[in-house]
Symmetry: D2
Subunit: 150 residues, 4 copies
């Protein structure tokens, strides 16, 4: 079986976000790996991401998981900026260690209307999961995939 | 059956966040209602919360849901800042209308170690849900509830 | 606003199950209330539904929740037997009391392709939830809604 | 790092179910692999598991996922029959092929009070997932782990 190729590169993803979704870029993550059904991104955690007890906040980890899956969907179907999350389920498992957090998104199923996958979050260099999410993205029909760009 | 009373007021919640969690306050929401097992908060949506297509981003709604449930847990058990989310499941249902978003959190179960509830998100003044979340919070044992305040 | 009417009665639901899904009926529940966006069913719990400790098993409650939502979808869209669950999330909250269990399904959103709602499970006559589920059903496109009946 | 060993064998799990949970055994599955943090079981699907359209029912897959994770918890902590599911989230991805279904449970986190993991369901011999579940089990404190056996 031939492995499918990713339909966008990391650089093309960054350029897409600059045009249509600069807030996503402002979150401050890097794109580490892009494959046809798998994307890994990292977030250097900063003061603004912390919550009481000095740990990374839940919303920061949810945003990271959602972003990783959005990019994995883009890698799988190309620059369809309007793909939107319909369901996200996340379990917070361990307190992260200080330092960057990696989020590895994998796609389980890529249908014509829905993409489903999971995201594993780890403190950089560690094997244990700090959180695990499953997400469903809705893929717009072809006639509605145009980008809201000038 | 006597209805239990909320263990914190909206004002006390704001003062707690000022001390231990200023990032939560910086998110920009208001606390509209506080009851023993129910809290309603609102977010005036701004440019920074938007995503492609002009709609409020998923992470913004997740953060709002998580914040509403955290405050509902505080209303139920008092100022235990270290309560943390262990599970969040959210369904995104409709595109929000322009304007503020209301999040109504209700607690289904308040145990000694876990609190479980749901959050209904609506565009202000409308009945239809734009998103619905269920959350589990872990409540620290009494000896670990001290606040990390100076 | 005129309230929509249910597109099937309880009796019609039972006849549909007799024809296309006798295993569902064999589960042994009764249909108590049918509205356009809400259905209540009940299960008299029996020895076969129990698990260690004498409590009703998780799979029994999941089956009850799934059945209640399936019937709520039928009430909303008519006899489309091929509607299938795509996501189910359930929190188990309290040990049920002996006796029947009620499951109240409500639909949050009825789209052309997806229906999303929740199910509240209670021991009969009690207010506290014993479990709470949210479900998404996929609705087949009109040309695939034919029933597999003789 | 030394890999931990499973605290029960497949044969010991079967004997435990014969004593305290015969309904689980009546479900008809086999235990294929047992490791310290991973268990694989299989279900030969039969007429009673089917739903309209000839596919395996959602409740059958939920029961299989729940059973696989329960056994993975037993492998990890020993014969604590009273461990109970507190949360289950499942996505149904593809229609199963005819024939047995495999369920592979892995534990992400084993705490003193909670175990969290996921279950991947596949039609035997195929790589694509037909369903994916994440589950949380509550582990009773040591003084309440006694089995309800004669």
């Amino acid at each position: 079986m031939t492995q499918p190729r990713a339909l966008m590169t990391a650089q093309e993803m960054i350029e897409l976000m600059e045009k249509v979704f600069p807030q996503a870029l402002a979150f401050g993550f890097t794109i580490d790996e892009v494959e046809a059904r798998r994307v890994v991104i990292s977030l250097p955690t900063q003061q603004e991401h912390l919550r009481p007890g000095g740990t990374v906040s839940g919303p920061t980890m949810m945003t990271l998981a959602d972003t990783a899956m959005w990019l994995a969907v883009l890698a799988a179907i190309g620059p369809v900026a309007l793909a939107v999350t319909t369901n996200l389920n996340i379990n917070f498992l361990r307190r992260p260690s200080p330092g960057p957090i990696n989020a590895e998104a994998r796609i389980f199923k890529l249908g014509t209307r829905l993409a489903v996958g999971d995201v594993s979050l780890r403190s950089e260099g560690q094997e244990d999961l700090i959180a695990h999410a499953t997400l469903t993205y809705s893929i717009p029909p072809p006639e509605k995939r145009g980008l809201p760009v000038a």
